[in-house]
């Protein structure tokens, strides 16, 4: 599911990271999903096998919270309102909870793909 990303290129270069971080933070905030109480991992497109499998692997609490956030955001969207500032997602709360699982599943699938197409030389 992951889109092409420059993250690892930037993170490897401290000077570039220092330079980009404020811009990234401004951009994430401007994207507006935090005002609806969502986290970045909530808006990853879920219409594919990998993300579906990842959602199934969430713990019961995380899964419940995810559904709650999405429903609340949906309600806000319908009524054309934003959440009151104290309920909006703070940058410190906007952590990855689904992406690590997605990466793990992608790794598993890649490994299966590699093993399926492997040629044995003895």
């Amino acid at each position: 599911m992951s889109a092409p990303s420059l993250t690892s290129y930037i993170v490897k270069r401290p000077w570039l990271k220092r330079w980009m971080t404020p811009i990234a933070e401004w951009y994430m905030d401007a994207a507006g999903y935090r005002r609806l109480g969502l986290r970045f991992d909530d808006i990853i497109p879920e219409e594919n096998d990998v993300v579906q499998a990842a959602i199934k692997r969430l713990s019961a609490k995380e899964s419940y919270d995810r559904v709650f956030r999405i429903r609340r955001a949906f309600q806000c969207s319908i009524s054309h309102t934003l959440l009151p500032p104290e309920e909006q997602t703070k940058p410190s709360e906007d952590v990855e909870y689904l992406s690590p699982i997605i990466r793990e599943i992608e790794k598993e699938r890649k490994e299966r793909e590699d093993l399926d197409t492997l040629s044995v030389r003895r």
Binding site: K56, R57, E108, E111, R112, L115
Partner: protein, 458 residues
Amino acid sequence: MMLSRSTLSRSAPRALQVTNRRSMASASNPGLQYEVSDAAGVKIANREVAGPTSTLALVSKAGSRYQPFPGFSEALDRFAFQSTVKRSALRITREVELLGGAFSSSHSRENVVLTTKFLSNDLPYFTELLAEVASQSKFAAWELDELVANLLKLRQQAITADPEYLGIDAAHGLAFHRGLGDNITPNTSVPFEKYLSVEALSEFAKDAYSKSNIALVGSGPNSSELSRWAGQFFQGLPTTGTSGQYKVQDKGASKYHGGEQRISHKSENAVVIGFPGSSAFGTSGYKPEVAVLASLLGGESTIKWTPGFSLLSQATQSFAQLRVSTKSHTYSDAGLFTIALSGNAGQVATASKNVVDAIKKVAAGEVASEEIKKAAALAKFRSLESVQTLETGLEASGSALINGGKPYQIDEIAQNIDNVTEQQVKDLAKSFLSGKASVVAVGDLFQLPYAEDLGLTV
């Protein structure tokens, strides 16, 4: 026809000469004896068998008897050869496929057994694999939810459809209460899910696979090679296990209780009658006459196209929809002698009375001594075969090693059974009738009898 007659006439005198020949295994046949050694604190029993393939098993004293909570042994068994810290389950499978090997895991009341079979050249790889599974299994939460839980459910469904299995399991429960009486696999109504979590399992595994709790049993590999590789790979295993609530729990010595249990079942019927039996060979409760009585009562023929000589198969010959089998279940400190009847409800009900009649006949000494001789020969064959056969032999030797008993000595087993007298068999049958039985009826309880109807005390 001509051919078969001539072969018969040629081989018949040979069958009569058997008695002259040397008895089966002895010092002249060292391949069947296990050599016991120790590498990096892990006990190893190995027999060198000349041949291109080898079998190596890890026996852990973590069967249902020693599990801290229900379902733990079953889950540990299913988690074997799943993802480890180093490689995924898929990679393990594919690597083993490429090497042309096989692996499997199983568990009994006393042990969890991880078995690998391979071409002898691949010994280092498979020794490493067993060590890796024992010490570095990942116990991922999703593997429990997506794989292990489903397999467990299927296993539960399979045992629910097998009334004889349910009956024997319940008979163990009646006979030994906690410990040996715990279900091997929790049945569908056991609330095991509330105890089972990957964290708890990984704690249990640390203790179950600690050096003092396991034995490596090999059949085929070179002994010095095996101890070299085992010493190298098994070094990282903890010497003693954890001390939390999830450690391997020894619930004390087994004591026989007895009793009666009746379980309704929609489709199948079984009656299981249990009596105190013999513990495994090499322990203090070993009674060779139990094996002889088990084959004397019998029920299952070992020879095609004949009901066989055993008392129960003779007595139940007219029942077409009935299966009878007599088994002596042996454990490290106790044993259970079970007679299981399954099939049509009416026939099971009638035949269970025949079973008690047969035991009465043996107790009264109304059985010809030839029959007892035949039974002793069959008992000898069965116990020697179970030692020689890989699956049963590996577990038995490993279990004996962990529990500090002596490993199986083929000569002694044969000797013990040869020494059984008619009087011993008669006394054993008498003690069955006077002592407490464990009686389980599974199925159509409207038709199946109570222990009292059979004339047994519970």
